[in-house]
């Protein structure tokens, strides 16, 4: 039997909680600053506009493509390689005009005529700006609803302090992951939104496992302070937390390297989210609950009056 973490002693996680608070606080502030200064690099799904992905037979000459587009009135277009040298992604801002949705076809035929038809259309997407607006609203709403529902579920199943701790940890994960996307200028599209919601799913899974153990240990051991009990629960679940994170990260790495360009943002968000989520379920969720004053009494099973309990036993 081999183990990654071999302990017979309880690790005093909570002793370092001030350091964790400090670090998380710093990261959150940095994220919020970046989100308000740099903002997010919203993808097509949110901004509206046109995206065209074309495949050339040989390595594409990007400056030439830009020149062609400039010459034909598509000045502001973003032209970049996508995955390989042959694949080119062109992004055009939404604009007022009768044929907004026909831009794609127009540009394709333009490129085809420039390079003797050796361009293959791989993908054209056009999204109207107001569809994007609705999406932003919807995405935010989805996340908020998810957080509230989780809050209610954990509050009912466990205790409100743990619920607040868990949801606090989730918000922490979401903000920092968004911050990372903002700092690195990665494109935030619908798949990244899905990934962010998956981070919520993953992180809550982790947190609930810890909460569960905290509750169990409170009920099992009648000695020790709240801090010691939480430390004990964290130590008990440590191996599991690390192993599950590890297997998840393993597959995400596979997805990152093999899943293709379209799924890159998704894999990045999740990879980072899983790491942050694992950390937050250890430090943030439980230390928040501790700070809110969670105690043994709060987690004792509710006294159920059994039928006939107040009767005298039969002789």
């Amino acid at each position: 039997m081999h183990e990654i973490i071999k302990t017979n002693k309880t690790i005093s996680f909570m002793r370092y909680r001030m350091a964790a608070w400090f670090m998380s606080g710093l990261l959150i502030v940095a994220s919020i600053v970046s989100l308000s200064v740099n903002q997010l690099n919203w993808g097509l799904d949110f901004t509206g506009g046109t995206v065209i992905e074309v495949g050339y037979e040989t390595a594409a000459d990007l400056p030439a493509v830009r020149k062609t587009l400039d010459a034909n009135g598509f000045g502001g277009a973003v032209v970049q390689n996508f995955g390989t040298q042959q694949d080119v992604l062109i992004r055009i801002e939404p604009r007022e005009g009768v044929k907004a949705q026909e831009l794609g076809n127009e540009i394709l035929s333009l490129l085809q005529s420039e390079s003797n038809g050796q361009v293959e259309m791989r993908r054209i997407e056009f999204v109207g700006p107001q569809v994007g607006d609705e999406l932003t609203e919807q995405g935010g709403l989805a996340m908020l609803t998810a957080l509230i529902c989780i809050l209610i579920y954990i509050a009912l199943r466990f205790e409100w302090r743990l619920a607040l701790g868990a949801v606090g940890a989730l918000a922490h994960d979401v903000i920092i992951t968004l911050g990372l996307f903002s700092v690195l200028g990665l494109e935030f599209d619908l798949t990244v939104l899905a990934a962010l919601l998956a981070v919520i799913g993953y992180s809550i899974n982790d947190t609930v496992v810890v909460c569960d153990r905290v509750r169990e240990n409170f009920r099992k051991y009648h000695k020790g302070t709240s801090e010691e009990t939480i430390d004990g629960a964290l130590t008990d679940t440590m191996s599991r937390t690390v192993i599950t994170s590890l297997t998840t990260i393993l597959v995400l790495v596979a997805l990152f390297f093999l899943g293709g360009q379209l799924i890159h943002g998704f894999a990045t968000a999740l990879l980072f989210g899983v790491v942050i989520g694992t950390y937050s379920s250890i430090y943030i969720a439980s230390s928040l609950a501790l700070a809110l004053g969670v105690s043994r009494e709060d987690l004792m099973p509710p006294e159920v009056e059994k039928e006939g309990e107040d009767l005298d036993p039969l002789p």
Binding site: G97, F126, G128, L190, C211, T244, I249, A254, L255, I263
Partner: protein
Amino acid sequence: MLNKFPLWKNLMVIAILAIAALYALPNIYGEDYAVQISASRNASVTTDTLGRVEQTLEEISITPKGVTLENDQILVRVNSDVEQLQARDALLRELGTDYIVALNLAPATPDWLASIGATPMKLGLDLRGGVHFLMEVDMQEAVRKIQDQMRDTVRAELREERIRSTSIRRQDSDVVVELRTTEDYTAAEQYLDNRYPGYTLIEEEATQTLRLRMTEAKLKETQDYAISQNVTILRNRVNELGVAEPVVQRQGADRIVVQLPGVQDTARAKEILGATATLEFRLVDDENSLRDAEMGRVPFGSELFPNRNGGNTLLREDVILTGDHIVNATSGFDENQRPQVSISLDGAGGDKMSLATRDNVGKPMATLFIEFKATGERDENDRIVFERHAEVINVATIQSRLGSNFRITGISSQQEAQNLALLLRAGALIAPIQIVEERTLGPSLGKENIALGTQAIVWGFVLVVFFMVLYYRKFGLVANLALTANLVLIIGVMSMIPGATLTLPGMAGIVLTVGMAVDANVLIFERIREEIKAKRSPQQAIHHGYDSAFSTIMDANITTLIVAIILFAVGTGPVKGFAVTLAIGIITSMFTAIVGTRAVINAVWGGKRIDKLSV
């Protein structure tokens, strides 16, 4: 005895896995290249057609893999994409325009599987290639159209009642009636009050004006009707395109999603789908001077329209009939070999036509072609502004009283007659639509996405399997069995649920599930290790390990499931696809990790004396 499953429990596990495996099976057979033949409206697919198809294939010496006639459709399966194109071209030549011949991919599921309803997973457009449109319906126009009809009704009824009005017109969403005298005002008020359900009468006595205003309920009903009508019509048009497995669905209050797998020619698809054309039949106003009207003095009750010859035609405002009543339209040639469109009307339309033409024999009647085009501009509510283009396509003298079958001549080309017939047949859109989102994916990119996704799943799977064996030894092997079973279950369930579609984010969801699915087993195995450390016997350790991990697993998974359900409810497109696989993955992984592994562990280790566990 500890750790022994009753027989029924073992059988249940085996049965569930067997069923899932059976329904997952069609996915490995792939697809056949196929040609799909369906009838246009004035033809039908019969066994005769089947014979013609088989003969045509023989003539070009293609031996099909199979030819089947089902649901009024013939499906010809061939061996390669080259043969597919050859077969399509030959069949097009043979069958002509009465039939729609379209390229298709048909699942190559063997008959015995197909007979128990096993079908492969549906693939999303991002994995298959094709076009996706999101369309928005112009609700203002829908309301306007209804109100125009209302105006005509009110005008006709007041005339019948001999109530004389100065003007009856539509103003935004009101019908405004202005009256000359107090007597007429009172009479009209009495007549119109509570006459039309869904309308409230607003009286403005000072100006002797009456307003008929739509109630909120009626407004909503009108909009709902417009959407569902448009969905029906778009579905008809999509069918005319001959696309295999199209999707036409309402989304939200005023949007419609159309997905056309395999379609590459977006220009044509858009032309057919987006065209909002309708016909109106109106009498030509030959009592007033056309020249005066052209100078800007359009007489009251008439409207000026351009015609095909570059000039104008003055038409009466009253509409005899709109395109809504057309039930069929076919193109052909008249006795002078000029293109024509033959039209059949429904009962109500026939009555209207007959009534209007009865009194007007010898007078000219015009066919007005109306099209709505998006201007690309937006109004203050950020709605797209549509422009109405109306053109008189022909004027004919009414020779006799018309019934429900008649024809339009004076069309310039056969192509145009065909297009017009197609549009009329497909029905008139009740309100114009605008494409607000369009996604086209090349088929090669779709294939690439499948390949990459599969690769990621396989490698992720291999890595996890390897790690689990390394870390948990024999118990790790059991967890890996569960993981494999879980994959089969996900695919099986996805194939069984009719609405589930596999998308690229969905594949990512499966990958993620592979990573997370071992969590339940990790929880259990860690507990078992703890129990062993606490010096319990191996059998006790297994028993308590499973027991104490259970509530943790439930809580953890239910919360994740809540997230998945919310994602499904709120999300669209990729988010939804991801949510489906995530939710299915959570449920199946709970089953395999808790019940599945227990069955195996019980079978191998349960009920024996063992000194040491390999965990």
